[in-house]
Symmetry: C2
Subunit: 166 residues, 2 copies
Amino acid sequence: MESRITAREPRAERAPSRIEELCIERGLKMTGQRRLIARVLSEAEDHPDVEDVYRRALALDSKVSIATVYRTVRLLEEKGILERRDFGGGRARYDPADRGHHHHLIDVDSGKVIEFADEAFEALARGIAERLGFKLVGQRLELFGRRASPPEAERGTPRRKPGPRS
Amino acid sequence: MESRITAREPRAERAPSRIEELCIERGLKMTGQRRLIARVLSEAEDHPDVEDVYRRALALDSKVSIATVYRTVRLLEEKGILERRDFGGGRARYDPADRGHHHHLIDVDSGKVIEFADEAFEALARGIAERLGFKLVGQRLELFGRRASPPEAERGTPRRKPGPRS
DNA sequence: TTACTTGCAAAGGATTTGCCAACCA
DNA sequence: TGGTTGGCAAATCCTTTGCAAGTAA
């Protein structure tokens, strides 16, 4: 019932994703769904919201419930594996925490998010906090910008519901 | 039935608050509730959330419904009179937009918010955006810090529900 | 007058949770 | 095999909205 040929992939058993490794390191019990979600997150190069993760996980394989995605993503956040972001629009978006400290520039016309890091800023932030009598334990920097010279009328997809939330 | 003596204050008619003036400038119809909310906001020195504004308005005088507070606060935001902030915790908080550009340092132990402005930062932000090919149209900077040397155990009121949301 | 506002309550969207069965270590 | 986890649906929280009645200009 067990041939060497298939032994390698009893059930899509690929190398653990980077985030899965982090989970194991921190002693999380790895279930099929968690592995799946970890993989989706590891492969994401953007800043997916919970629903994005949910959709991608479903497409990729198993059946996960959105509740599990919420639970897992929150668990990973608590373990410091993910960082929760808020770019406006009412949904939380996630970012693997090990990509190094970086910040975001949001293109207000297209909603696209560009990452960047900046040494000078890090130092400046530390300095400001100190001057106010605090030790810096976290920071959040988001820039909102518009492409230098757009020929007008080219505005991309506004973040879902155009009006309401920030 | 009408004496000169009371003519001056038909009904708590005080000088219009700063925010009320801004509303009038932008042609908003001023109702009693709006005047009240404008006053609460003008007098606020912190960053109240909608419920804070609602509570203060009620205490101050009239009966307003929370729906009206939500509507008004949003209207003022659209008119550029208020700025919506998100310090984590799931509620939006508001800040009069004419206090000048400033940012916030949040004391992670007490939840207190300290405002500050920093020229060097403004310049840096503009520079970063430019380098990435964007014109800066907005920014958000929040520092999270801990008082330099707290004798422990002094942690103030954590923002409502301690655990969950960011 | 007459369009704009308000209050109330119900609707909505995102996120969390209770409960029991399924599952992993 | 015992404790954990996952699914489902109901529950929460914050915020928005429909509608009828009230009000500023």
